[in-house]
Symmetry: none
């Protein structure tokens, strides 16, 4: 293998190691207690290495957040695609994927959101992501309504949908007083009711991910 290619591979590997170590560290010790020390320990590298692959600790944190979001986004896209062409089924898939399983790094997102409040760059990133998800939801709802000749307040319905998901996810992350199956059921029932569909026809179990299509690894 050519040296240049090999180097690029090493760089990507190391960057990934550090990103995953960062996520592990935040999950394990919390955002505020995650130091270069803990991150490098979790990454299995020495303290000085961060400087080789990231401009600063902040840069690494940002990269970790983007990585996490990208993985979750990719996973969501896959789930939606796997649901087939029907916009209603796609909506349900989009609603359930967040609660598909005990997710790694679930707490990390909350830490990042808190940080985003005083970090314009992070906030911008988050807002773009959520705006996209809401827009995608609106498109699916529009099509599902059209197929049923229904008139639906798309904007408000999409808002309900996304914020119900976020609210359920938030409560589950903080409280663990209800389980993921309940979340899935509530989301499915709400969306079914919106479109006058029978929930019984739409299972809350997610299609099992086949081996080799991981989401966030590490």
């Amino acid at each position: 293998m050519k040296r240049a290619i090999k180097r690029v591979l090493t760089i990507e590997t190391r960057r990934n190691d550090l990103i995953l170590g960062t996520l592990r560290s935040i999950e394990k010790y919390g955002y505020q207690n995650s130091t270069v020390q803990t991150i490098c320990e979790e990454s299995g590298v020495s303290r000085g290495l961060i400087g080789h692959y990231f401009e600063s600790k902040d840069d690494l944190l940002m990269a970790a957040f983007q990585h996490l979001n990208a993985e979750l986004d990719k996973e969501a896209r896959l789930a939606v695609r796997a649901a087939g062409p029907d916009p209603f089924r796609r909506l349900i898939a989009a609603g359930l994927i967040t609660f598909a399983q005990e997710r790694r790094y679930s707490q990390v997102t909350l830490h990042f959101w808190s940080t985003a409040l005083s970090n314009p760059k992070l906030l911008e990133h988050h807002r773009n992501l959520w705006a996209r998800f809401r827009a995608s939801t609106e498109r699916l709802m529009t099509r599902a309504a059209a197929e049923r000749n229904m008139e639906i307040d798309i904007r408000h319905s999409a808002l309900m949908f996304t914020q119900l998901i976020d609210g359920l996810w938030l409560g589950w992350t903080l409280e663990k007083s209800y389980d993921l199956e309940t979340c899935r059921m509530l989301v499915r029932d709400w969306i079914c009711k919106l479109f006058n569909e029978d929930p019984a026809n739409y299972p809350t179990t997610m299609p099992v991910r086949e081996e080799g299509s991981p989401h966030v690894q590490g």
Copy 2:
């Protein structure tokens, strides 16, 4: 007034000054950028004073979080009581109060939640509070359903209710892409639909708080 009582009053005053200064500092500079320095500046006291009234900065932060929650809780109770004896109206009031106005310290809560993830004491506190709110919601729903001879899945409905509120609040805090009136409307409409009531009969405007019953001051 006896000296002992006077001292207790001073102590309470000082603690309150510091707590409000803490909330102001977090709102102004963010959680991570709030130092003993910024907190004491906002409180109008000298840096060394924290040690007299709190065990540590963490202790003060904890107290500030509890204070904030207590105020919000009190405010909610007042709003519910002001709604009169009808359980359904009380439910609506409970649902709308969170979005009553541009709330001070709205970001602080998110910061504290993030912190709670790695602070068992804080987390416990939060869980108790939310459990109580959900229990209260369940009681109101039970009564409202009984009055209407309706059968409702109380537990799941209460969960929907609380998490919809949290989700709307979370999105509003992070994104500001929709306004509080929208939040109030969505919550009212959902609860009205649950009990087959006409939203038109239940305005989303909150009763004006009379002078002298402020919530979080400072």
Copy 3:
């Protein structure tokens, strides 16, 4: 004493402690080996104190350099004034003061000069100082020449004067292969020759500084 005044005194005292500690550290360990650690040790304070009185280590170094220059400048002014009104005697005094005695912090200046090469602010400071000294020399030479009805190339003579002094000082600092008396003699003889004066009439010994008019202390 009023508290405010007291505080200002403390601040000045501490700043001075740190400045003198800095000079001592540089003299003792060299510029490159002077760390916050060594400076604070020499100053007799803890490592964190620098942050209270100076913006950064660089800021302290700058202040130390300015302090040193100010002291040397003050000392030179006093020596010149003590020489009386005769411009020629004032010239000689200005020429000899640099070599008046084994000066503390003699090496520090060289360190700072080296640093100035890549520090525009420091360089600017140095250039202003030297320009002023050269201008003052030119004025004295102009008057001394006028009194003697002599025509002298003032600009070049002033340049010779200042650079001869610098050259002798530099060699003495680096080599110690000749003594200060030799420096004084060479400078005096050169200036006497320039104005056709008999060196024998102008001793190279400096008037003894009376107690209480120290230069760089510490």
Copy 4:
């Protein structure tokens, strides 16, 4: 060519590359900002190579200083030799060569001097060099005086000569407030006056160096 000889050549080439890169780096970035990184970049080699040819960064810096001095020394010798057999002309040549042209690495010398203050080996090296130059000056002055039947204070005159040169060089390096032609003129005039010679007979222009005898290359 035998392999051993070839290797020695490679070693010398590499060492020279690194030495010149060091000088370039110091000139470009300053002494304090010259890291192994910048030096190797300037040298066109990889970071790890220093370890193969020098014991340490300090060792390389030392070698660079010695190299620079050796080049300057060689250049001075050539200039003196080119001035012919007349000791007076040789003196003038020795005095002018320092200001012959905008010299590369002019700032480097000052950096090294500052370093020498806390580096005995460097200091020793410098002292030997300067002692030799002073001794050579004394020999030339002795011969020039003898030819003219003059009595001159050789030691002090040589001291004036060397330190005047150093002082002019120092001021020029730090201030750039006068030019090299002025330096040459002042040195020439001083030495002419010492020996009662007419400066008009001794141009300050240096004989042009023929191609192929550069001094510090790189």
